[in-house]
Symmetry: C2
Subunit: 250 residues, 2 copies
DNA sequence: ACCGCCAGTTGATCTACGTCAAATAGAACG
DNA sequence: CGTTCTATTTGACGTAGATCAACTGGCGGT
């Protein structure tokens, strides 16, 4: 699925898109799949992980209804998942940042239930699912971790259902900002100053809002001094206020 | 968690709430957990399944934040799962009918992320998760089946996100009716005439609508000759029309 | 440097559904 | 059998956010 790097590609250890690294040396290992594994288990994981050449912005990692083969970890960049219903409308189902795992919606029916698209140049690790099943049979830690991962996605999705079905536009957007901020913090990036990798259209679609409403709410937040926003560059000025809005039930 | 039946309880094989049955003889085995298992594997599953005395209407099977111990299969009756957010509002996250599995949202953080409440007298099978992990390590079929189950719930939840964030009240309600109809068909019950186990309030909450809107849409569907509804007794008169409405993207 | 294009902003109006309020109808209870 | 309580229906009105429309500002291409 992922194109393999040329054998003679330059091997720059400092480039974040570089494929010539392994899980042990990857600086995301603390938050990514190796999280739950012991040293010697990570070695076994490393053997089945495939690291390909970076995806360009706009390229697909996989498409809805493709035969399910692998799950993926984002190493750098940002990916969105979306599905298109019978009736033709698009639904963005998630944004994936470095260290996060996607593709698990394909397990259930052996086909991906969504498409995954790089929102910027992204390096991806591919892990064939057959190997994961195999390894999970041998390593209880691995099995446990995958059960957890899947379950956590269920909980997240249910939270998202609450968000879009019971919360106002301001609460939804505040919630997204807080979520991205927290995920950046986990990766030791600034939780208060970052670039939103997704378009207004994607944000609106994800949150069940129109792009006009997203734009207006950003405007209101800026006017209230909660954020500064310039195109995709976001500075959070009052994270507590945003958390408060996000947690509000009206 | 489930109260065990008295040892001297009468053992009436014909009673659907009866605990004195096993997976092999259970008429739901074709659609429930044993679905993916071989004969001899079902025997192993049987050994870990605990069958308790029926839950009365309004009783909880587990509560949000309880320590996660088991997943559950509905044998008869109907259960709703719901969670209460920080801000205090309730979100119904699912309805579970006989043959369906609930509690998997607890795996991720070792606590249930929702509460489960019997909407009518319900018989429940409890399966301790530690045993499932154990068995999954030994039986690849079992492991595979659980990965699938979890993944399918993710896909369902994502569909539900689309439903509540992009569809009209009529589309949402039609979709629910079609879903329950299909699930009844799977259990060899009439797909066209059945009792809705949940209140209008639950329906509204699940679909992100107020109870007034639910009531009005039921009324409209009845006036259009698509259904007949009397309190909770529903007769579907034109399932194709409902499917068409449910699939519509506006 | 000019053009064309897309992403985003801003404003004016519209509408599906929420909110509030009142009426009705079972079930549950003594 | 009335009485109370709760679930549901029905009606009148209000509103958050959608829709429609016009404008603005980067940015890639030549």
């Amino acid at each position: 699925m992922i194109a393999v790097s040329e054998p003679n590609a330059p091997s720059n250890k400092n480039c974040p898109h570089n494929a010539a690294i392994n899980c042990t040396s990857c600086r995301l290992s603390a938050i990514c799949l190796p999280l739950a594994l012991a040293q010697d288990e990570i070695v076994q994981l490393d053997e089945i992980v495939q690291r390909g050449r970076p995806l360009q912005k706009g390229q697909h990692l996989y498409r809805e209804n493709d035969t399910f083969t692998s799950i993926f970890a984002v190493r750098s960049g940002a990916v969105k998942a979306y599905s298109v219903s019978d009736s033709g409308e698009e639904q963005v189902t998630g944004f994936y940042l470095p260290g996060e795992i996607l593709g698990m919606d394909g397990i259930g029916h052996n086909r991906y239930a969504s498409s995954a698209l790089a929102m910027e140049v992204s390096a991806i690790c591919e892990i064939p699912f057959a190997n994961i099943e195999d390894l999970s049979g041998k390593l209880p830690n691995m099995q446990k971790h995958f059960f957890k991962l899947l379950s956590q996605e269920i909980v997240e999705d249910q939270r998202h259902i609450t968000l879009v079905s019971k919360h106002t536009a301001e609460e939804r957007l505040a919630s997204l900002i807080v979520s991205i901020s927290a995920r950046n913090a986990r990766r030791n990036l600034s939780p208060l100053k970052f670039r939103l990798p997704m378009s207004r259209t994607d944000i609106g679609n994800f949150l069940g809002l129109t792009i006009e409403t997203v734009s207006r709410v950003f405007g209101r937040f800026a006017k209230q001094g909660l954020i500064e926003i310039n195109k995709k560059e976001l500075t959070v000025l009052d994270i507590e206020a945003l958390k408060h809005i996000a947690a509000l039930g009206h």
